[in-house]
């Protein structure tokens, strides 16, 4: 199967960069800028600096050249921040456009009478309302999200999931929801519209990656407040500074104060904040997950407990034959052959796996034998098998059923085998030929390779995994041990699941789970992060706050990582931004005060060319660092799952200490160039 939408978009995709460069200017619109307090303030100061520079030039003042340069670089700071946002948006849009292209422009066939499929009325998509009943026929694109109320059809969902194989959609059951933008390959469906226009999955997905409409997430709001607070602090610092300087008869040109102010306020993180947010959502979309809100993605990073369905997540969906265990007096090969023959015509995955094992272990021939009549499994007989033309027969089934069949009491040897298999979490399948028990086939839940390591990783991150299974506690315990989960819920029912979530939440933990059935809906709604499978029912999809288009339950783990990476990127770049200020002081303060107190030259540890070049270099560094960090903002800070302490130490070393040192080097280098070019 091919994935078409998850194509990698290069960081330096020229098409996106070009569009972003234009967007950077369009985003100077104050109505948009005001959403980002730090950058808005920067823009205001840029306006002020422009006026000052113009006046300086007009009056042929001594600082004309430098003032013009400072004003220019202040504008660049704003533009670079806009550019960062535009690049992130551009990447998101490129992805969204791929989705949007699939949106139907055709008319929706609205049924006048739900019972009659032959009378419909073409309505434009804008006029379709919730609860309209529409008809979709082979070759049509499904116009909007809905629930199948009649019909069975195969649907090509590759437009949203990238899976090329069509999937079956039918009324009732867990496969009744259809997504706008997907195409009907065969047959017909009658669909009840469930989403208002503008609120379909596609619309949600598009709005997540478009900056202007993006809702800020809770942590982002908190960070915004902190940044605004720091900006205010620096406003007090800078506004009072000329007064204190006047004490020592020093006059500081206002344009220098403007430069100082902008270098001090957290423009780096302020400029990248929205790019980080958009890029985080984009990473999620890339993983084929749609978040109904940014809040859910952040919550995913906070998850303490992960509830995972055993089937499909931890184990391959089906039990598979693992070993033949004959009773004494029967050879393993005889047992294998009997089980093999009984399963040849058995289409169930278990049956197939018995055939596979027989072929693998004893090279049994797959050719169907003549004169065999397959006896399928029924709820009444609770066994299956094969009858031969000669009157002999083979049966396989659960041990109690088989004992009843042969009419004998449980013998010690058989009992031991059955118990052993059950204890290890397997399912014993007893095989009998002509009323005599030959032995047991060990059916086993096969744990997915690599899942154990995944859980160990989660444990290091402080996330507890709980396996949810309908199995009995014994079986559950064995699989739990094999898979390395921390805990399990056996004989799970939707109620028990809900109760477990409530219990964990009452203890202050955040719980994530995934589900697809209607009976999962209450638990999905109760969980802090509920991932609904796209193949699931509309009820489940309504209840969850994330939807996985691939319907892959292991996706939960990826979602957690995306959430964490989003927060880490913000935190790391904030730390970097604030740490940068130290070096900027060492560049600018001596430049401002050295005339009044020549001794303050000792603070000029970088040995910068002149006062003017020092100020110019600081403001240039401040602008360029935004551009330099765009790749990190887009890709996210590298995240290796590990404990909080290890993560903190690592990120502090890189972004904290790095943030202290980097500008000393950067400003010095820029100063050398500024001096070489005689810019100051």
């Amino acid at each position: 199967m091919t994935k078409s939408t998850t194509a990698e978009i290069s960081l330096f995709e020229p098409r996106i960069l070009r569009a972003a460069a234009i967007q950077a200017f369009a985003k100077l619109d104050p109505r948009g800028l005001v959403r980002n307090p730090v950058i808005f303030v920067t823009a205001l100061v840029s306006v002020l600096a422009t006026i000052l520079a113009a006046r300086e030039v007009a009056t042929v003042g001594p600082n004309g050249f430098i003032a013009v340069q400072i004003a220019l670089w202040l504008w660049f700071t704003v533009l670079f921040a806009n550019f960062a946002e535009a690049v992130a948006e551009g990447r998101g849009k490129a992805r969204a456009d791929a989705f949007r292209a699939t949106k139907a422009s055709a008319l929706a066939k609205v049924l006048v009478e739900p019972a009659r499929r032959d009378v419909w009325q073409g309505k434009s998509l804008d006029d379709v309302v919730v609860d309209d009943i529409i008809l979709v026929e082979a070759g049509d694109t499904i116009p909007t999200d809905g629930e199948v109320i009649d019909g069975v059809a195969s649907v090509d969902e590759s437009a949203i999931t990238g899976e090329s194989a069509p999937v079956i959609r039918e009324s009732g059951g867990d496969r009744s929801s259809v997504t706008g933008g997907t195409r009907l390959v065969s047959d017909w469906l009658v669909v009840r519209v469930t989403a208002r226009q503008g609120e379909t999955f596609l619309d949600r997905m598009i709005s997540l990656v478009e900056g202007a409409k993006r809702q800020k997430t809770p942590n982002e709001i908190a960070l915004d407040i902190l940044l605004a607070g720091l900006t205010l602090v620096f406003l007090f610092v800078v506004v009072t500074l000329p007064v204190f300087a006047s004490w020592s008869s020093t006059e500081i040109p206002v344009i220098y104060l403007a430069a100082l102010f902008i270098t001090l306020i957290p423009t780096t993180i302020g400029g990248l904040l929205s790019a980080i947010g958009i890029a985080g959502m984009d990473r999620l979309v890339k993983a084929n997950v749609i978040a109904k809100s940014g809040r859910a993605v952040e919550a995913a990073g906070d998850i303490d407990v992960l509830l995972l369905d055993k089937t499909g997540t931890i184990t391959f969906g089906n039990r598979m034959a693992d070993a033949f265990e004959p009773v004494p007096g029967v050879s393993e090969r005889d047992l294998a052959e009997a089980a093999f023959l009984a399963s040849l015509a058995d289409d169930t995955p278990e049956g197939k796996s018995i055939v596979d094992l027989g072929v693998r272990k004893f090279g049994l021939s797959q050719q169907a034998r003549v004169g065999m009549t397959f006896v399928p499994f029924t709820a009444q007989t609770r066994m299956s098998g094969v009858d031969f033309a000669d009157g002999s027969s083979i049966r396989k089934g659960a041990s109690d059923t088989m004992l009843r069949l042969v009419g004998g009491a449980m013998d010690m040897a058989l009992d031991a085998i059955v118990r052993k298999i059950a204890m290890s979490g397997g399912t014993p399948l007893v095989v009998a030929r002509d009323g005599r028990i030959l032995g047991v086939v060990h059916l086993k839940d096969i744990v997915k390779p690599g899942i154990r390591e995944r859980f160990a990783e989660l444990r290091r991150m402080g996330i507890r995994t709980v396996m949810i299974t309908g199995d009995n506690p014994l079986t559950a315990a064995a699989i739990a041990a094999e898979a390395g989960v921390d805990d399990f819920l056996a004989e799970a029912t939707p109620e028990k699941k809900l109760e477990l979530i409530r219990k964990e939440q009452a203890e202050g933990r955040l719980v994530a789970m995934c589900g697809d059935g209607s009976n999962d809906a209450p638990a999905l709604a109760q969980a802090d992060v509920g991932v609904a499978m796209n193949s699931g029912t509309p009820a489940a999809k309504e209840a969850g706050n994330l939807i996985d288009l691939d319907s892959d339950p292991t996706k939960l783990i990826e979602i957690v990582l995306v959430g964490k990476q989003l927060l880490i990127s913000r935190g790391a770049l904030t730390t970097f931004s604030i740490a940068n200020d130290v070096a900027k002081y060492f560049a600018i303060l001596p430049a401002l005060f050295v005339t009044a107190y020549p001794g303050l030259g000792v603070l000029d540890v970088m040995g910068l060319g002149t006062s003017q070049s020092a100020i110019l270099s600081a403001i240039i560094f401040n602008a360029l660092v935004i551009v330099a960090l765009i790749p990190i903002a887009l890709k996210g800070v590298r995240y290796v799952p590990s404990s909080a302490s290890a993560l903190l130490s690592r990120n502090l070393a890189i972004y904290g200490i790095g943030g202290l040192i980097a500008p000393f080097i950067g400003i010095k280098l820029i100063d050398i160039i500024v001096d070489l070019l005689r810019l100051a």
């Binding site: 506004v239 919550a299 107190y597 001794g599 995240y639 909080a644």
Partner: protein
């Protein structure tokens, strides 16, 4: 040098040895485990209609505190204004002028004890005892109440209340401040500190001249001024006065008394939030800054002023403004202790510290008085920085930041960020305003950068609720009395109200159990990060102006330039 270090080490040892048991005792007092004074407590609270253990929502808690402080302000203001009409005024002092009474009343209610006046030449015994000493007790108790309320808020599990202000305040006085200060006063009296209602004694000096020695109820006020991080002396020169601080023993006890409750609160806090390590981490973070500050001041004073080398023994260090009996080490220690703890009593003249020594003293206050800080409020001031640190660090580990299992969200960050404004407004804006208005120029004694330092020190001291001063600054004029008063109010309630609001908001939240994904707030990484956050915020705010004040003065001094 070696004996200096031994003295300093001895001090730290004694301090910690006293603070740990006191801290644990206070935890028991405020959680209601100590009941031996319960009848007295009831007798005080019952008439006011307060039942012990009746919890208050943070807004009621804060309102009670404000109402109580407002009433205290009014009473003190009236006593000062009309002391000439009231008894116990043997010297026959006149009523205090309005702006000075305003400033002094605010000063004592906010636990600042900034003194624009000379005590022995301005205030009657009644003003000193009933007015100031009362506030010395209850303003300290108010601060302690805030700390325990905050500790309750952080450890509360989805509760609406954070304790009862009246009950906390009364307990702080009855179980902690009163008994210790009585003991301390008695020891001070034994050391030679006067405690009398007489106005003065007349002595004949060796030269045969007649000298009038001002007297009064000194010991009782000195004990509580140290213990409650008040700092307002009976005499103008404070603990440099031989009656306030007669011997080496009284000096040691005083300097211990200043820090013992603030240090003890770290341990009280650890016990109250149910995790000893949290308290130890705060103790360590504050300790790192304290030791560094002491080392810096000591080094600066020991190296002295090169311009004095011609006429003073350089080996003695900078002895200008210091009592010979205390020398460099005890003066430096006191200077750091008193500015770290928002106490403000002095045994040497801070105006005469070397530029860098003065810088450290000033920075201690500008950081927000969180290096142990004022009783109770030092701890809560540090907790505001903890919240900011946790927020940044929490993001860096990829979880919504949490402290003690409580999620730190927009509301808490908003409140904590609000408190970041207090120091810049109180110090930078008010000082700049004074310059613009011309009030600064007429009040400073010295020209050049030192004059700026005098101004900055005054406003840092007021906003930090410290109360110590560079003596060269004449604050007793209407402008400064008013603005310093405003700065003191801002510095007190600008921290207390937001932190109580945070406590209230956190109390209502769920407590998440810790996991490997939770960022630990007790390890060395956190301690270092906390210290760095405090220093960076402080440095970023004040480095420019410090460069123009003490740093400029220092580099000029090195270059041999005077003003």
């Amino acid at each position: 040098m070696t004996s200096d270090l031994i003295q300093a080490a001895l001090y730290v040892g004694l301090l910690v040895a006293a603070a740990i048991p006191l801290g644990l005792y206070m935890a028991r007092v405020f959680t209601g485990d100590m009941t031996f004074l319960a009848p007295v407590e009831r007798a005080i609270l019952a008439p006011a209609g307060v039942r012990a253990g009746e919890g208050q929502h943070w807004t009621r808690y804060a309102l009670s505190l404000i109402a109580f402080n407002a009433a205290g302000f009014l009473v003190l203001f009236l006593i000062l204004r009309f002391q000439h009409l009231l008894p116990l005024n043997p010297q026959g002092f006149d009523g205090v002028p309005a702006h000075l009474a305003f400033n002094t009343a605010i000063s004592f209610v906010t636990n600042t004890n900034w003194q624009s006046y000379g005590g022995e030449t301005t205030l009657s015994h009644l003003s000193q005892m009933a007015g100031l000493t009362t506030q010395n007790f209850v303003s300290a108790a108010s601060g302690m109440a805030v700390a325990v309320a905050v500790a309750r808020g952080l450890s509360g599990r989805q509760v609406r209340t954070i304790g009862n202000f009246w009950s906390d305040m009364v307990r702080a006085v009855l179980y902690v401040l009163l008994p210790i200060s009585i003991v301390l006063a008695v020891v001070l009296i034994a050391q030679g500190t006067p405690q009398t209602l007489a106005a003065s004694a007349t002595a004949t000096t060796v030269e045969g001249a007649q000298q009038t020695l001002a007297l009064g109820p000194v010991a009782s006020q000195v004990a509580i001024k140290q213990l409650g991080t008040n700092g307002g002396g009976f005499f103008n020169v404070n603990s440099a006065h031989p009656f306030e601080n007669p011997t080496a023993i009284s000096n040691l006890l005083s300097v211990l008394a200043i820090l013992v409750i603030p240090v003890a609160f770290c341990f009280t806090y650890g016990r109250m939030v149910g995790d000893r390590r949290q308290g130890v981490a705060l103790f360590a973070a504050m300790g790192i800054m304290f030791v560094t500050a002491f080392a810096a001041v000591y080094a600066a004073e020991r190296l002295g002023n090169p311009l004095h080398a011609a006429f003073a023994d350089p080996a003695a260090g900078n002895m200008e403004g210091k009592e010979v009996r205390f020398g460099v080490v005890n003066s430096a220690l006191w200077a750091v202790v008193t500015t770290a703890a928002s106490n403000g009593s002095v045994n040497a003249m801070h105006d005469s510290l070397t530029p860098l020594g003065g810088l450290v003293a000033m920075l201690n206050m500008q950081l927000g008085e969180i290096i142990y800080g004022g009783v109770g409020v030092g701890l809560t001031g540090m907790l505001l920085f903890v919240i900011l640190t946790v927020f940044l660090a929490g993001l860096m580990v990829g979880r919504t930041p949490e402290y003690l299992g409580k999620k730190i969200e927009a509301r808490e960050v908003k409140l904590a960020a609000l408190t970041l404004m207090v120091m810049p407004i109180g110090v930078l804006s008010f000082a700049a305003l004074a310059i613009v208005a011309g009030a600064a120029q007429s009040s400073v004694q010295d020209a050049g950068p030192h004059g700026l330092s005098e101004l900055l020190y005054a406003y840092s001291s007021a906003t930090g609720n410290n109360g110590s001063a560079f003596a060269g600054f004449n604050a007793n004029v209407a402008w400064h009395n008013t603005f310093l008063g405003a700065a003191m109010m801002l510095g007190r309630f600008g921290y207390i109200i937001p932190i109580l609001a945070i406590a209230g908001s956190l109390a209502a939240k769920k407590t998440a159990p810790p996991s490997a994904g939770t960022f630990p707030t007790h390890g060395p990484v956190f301690v270092v990060l906390l210290v760095v956050t405090v220093l960076i915020v402080g440095a970023l705010t004040f480095l420019p102006v410090l460069a123009l004040g003490p740093i400029a003065e220092h580099v000029s001094m090195i270059a041999g330039r005077t003003f």
